[in-house]
Amino acid sequence: MIIQREHFIMVPEWAILILYISVVFSLIFTLYGVYRRFSIYRIHNYGLLLSTLRKKTSLVLQSELRLLRERYGGLMHTLIVVGLAILAVGTFLVFFEYDILMRVNPNYRILTGSIYLVYEFILDLAGGLLLVGLIMVIIRRIIFKPNRLENRVEDIIVPFLLLYGGLSGFILEGLRIATKGLQHTQSSFIGYIFSISFLNMNNIEKIYLAIWISHALTLVVTLPLFIYSKLRHFPLFFISPPYSVYEFKPSFNLSEVLKSKKIDFKVGLESIDALNWSQRVNIDACVNCGRCQDACPAYRANIVLSPKAIIQKLRESMVKGICNVVTDLALHESEIWACTTCGECVITCPIFINPLNYILESRRYLVTNLGKVPTSALFNIMVRGNPYGLPRSDRRNWMRDLNVNYAKEDEEVELILWIGCAGAYDSRAQKIAKSLVLLLNKLNVKFAVLKEEECCGELARRLGDEILFQEIAERNIETFRKYRFKQIVTLCPHCYNTFRNDYPDFNMKLNVKSHVELIYDLVVNGKIRALSPLNKIVAYHDPCYLRNYNEILIESRKILKSIPELRTVEISKHFCCGGGGGGNWIESEGVRINVQRLEDFIRDNPDIIATACPYCVSMFEDALKLKDLEGKFEIKDLCEIVCSGLR
């Protein structure tokens, strides 16, 4: 007996005909869906589409790894993806053999002999993986019910449909095995298990036919679901650009506008029309998985803001053609202002959607066009060059008793130290600034500060006043051009990110280092050594603008490791302190993000909570006050810890 794939056994011609006809309908229906979708997306740049396709294909693994950050959900997804992928290839092979090769010559076959046995084994295995994955889905949806998941109709139909497809496939295989006798069961091992219960069944042919038809129809229905249901995330993944935290770009160039004296641009996300095609594809790919929501500090604290809801609301109004984002669509102002811009949602999304960008663009719309902003910080920046609204002349107060020089225009200086508004004005952060200066003095590192220093514009940009931001950026860039220096070191990660990632848009590439990197360099090149031992337990909180925006995480930990006797504890999950994106200036209702973040830390009972950002320090200090824990824990910037250890 020849071992080979037997096509359409026990299926009458008319049933096969029905299958072919319905496949054709399904294809037409699917193509129609693709057409509809593409008209929603308004794709015009197909070249970009292709390059996106290449880029995204290379990101499949990274995407899957992002999913696997959550074990259960990740594993489940991987099982389904692998299962479906193999089954799809398998089905294609059958189609290729039966409908192409065998039409040419009935003797042309691939699925024959040992190849067929391996094929059967792999397909059985794939089906098994798929079933396990799907059962995990159903268990999670029905029993675990994690908070972030809603059970919409499609969320239930899709897994059950696929489950039925898989199960019915195995039943059919089992029935085939039961009728044909128990051959090569070693390869169709799952089908064999199913077959056992069918061995002495009557009417097997009729039952087989009925199940075969339903199985075939399941597959016919599944195909259009890849465009009509959330399964569309699979094809869309490959054509939607991977968005990162850097996506928030200027939408005009102020100096050009002032030169041309023409204001012919729109600012911000006023209406859905402002979304470009790639953003449209990107938004439409969202499956509502809610990983971003779990990562969102504002959601965790007060549920006012869910990045998932933002994307879903945008998606709905895009599909329905509703226009005005902030009014009609109810992207509520409270959501827009609750965001701390930590970027966690962006780096969490497995399909590289950027909810943050739409929040920031909505802010731009609200602020730049309507002047609606819930804090006086912007006005303070405009009038006095700092968000605190303190006098310009007070900016120098922090360095009154220190040995600090101003840079001179005619002298090159190795290092410019940029203190930032917090370091200059916030009494707590002033101490950090002082520590950094003491540290540099002790190590004989030459540096200077700029007498023209003012706000870097970070807050203006994140709060949505792009015009003010660009005014400030242009002023600062002019200042930078006046001086000659090798590098600029920032005390504040927010200044750092602005110089590193935002100023290049205005033709200013700076060799900028965060103070963490500077200290790390000093540790590595041996300038910082033999620190006094510090017998304390330290938990490190990553500033978002170092971790999420600039991937500086290892350096901080290595700096801590260089201190003798110091023990560190790692807090498993990163959350923002609540200070970013204006959080420091916008009063929030309800649970405070900083208090919640503090609670993450005090569970491990460290002596010191270390961080590397003046906002984080002030948020934690405030949280200590609110929790009545002052004096129980110390909040320190890395440079304070290192400075006090210098002999």
Binding site: L254, N369, E466
Partner: protein, 267 residues
Amino acid sequence: MLNMVVGVKWVPDTADVKFDPAKGTLIREGVESIINPPDLNAIELALSIKEKYGGKVYVISMSPPAALKGLKIAIAMGADKAILLTDRRFAGADTLATSYTLAMAIRKIGSYDIIIFGEETIDSATGHVGPEVGEILGISHVSYIKRILNIDLTSKIIELEREVENGVEVYKSKLPIVVSVGVGVNNPRYPIPIRRLHAEIETDKYIEIWGLSNIDAELDRIGLQGSPTRVIKIIAAPTVQRRMEVFQYSKEVLNLMVKRLRECEVL
């Protein structure tokens, strides 16, 4: 339709102004100027009246040309038009001459219903200009108002509330009226950035610059010669010498403190 005129002063940010004791002058170099803070509340009040009752908001400022920057901010907040009164002959004015010049300019604007000032400026802190402008124009004036209760557009009667040391007063007057408001009576809105950009690019459309020739003012009532008062000298304010006895806390320290309070006749 109500016509509102808001008086705005472009003042050096007093927090940054230092005193040079050797020369006996204030050091104003490098000091940025700002809109006098309560004047922002005045603009806000005018805009909120406009929103409720309809009308037009004019902003007027007697300042050097650098004040254009401030007027653009006022436009960005939502003022319809700004007038910059600038002329060398206006210089050196005390509060009376300033009020006269402003009053003549306001008269030139033509119809006005409510004239609003910030209750005082952060540099000279007199609070004179509101009452003086009111008197010079011969219309009602009320200082330190807290809010407008009602404006009857047909009878042109305004009702407003103000706070004094021992209570709250409600006044009623026929328009026009001059009022002054303080910091804290409302929250001045953020100047709309895109409107600020418009004011920057099309300044002429929003801001008019008037000199002496644009208003009907008597020469001997403006500037230094129109000012009855003269500043004869400025000295640094004497500061109280503090004892600065600082101790780490202990219960004995409190006893010492009570002793000191007795010695200094505070208790």
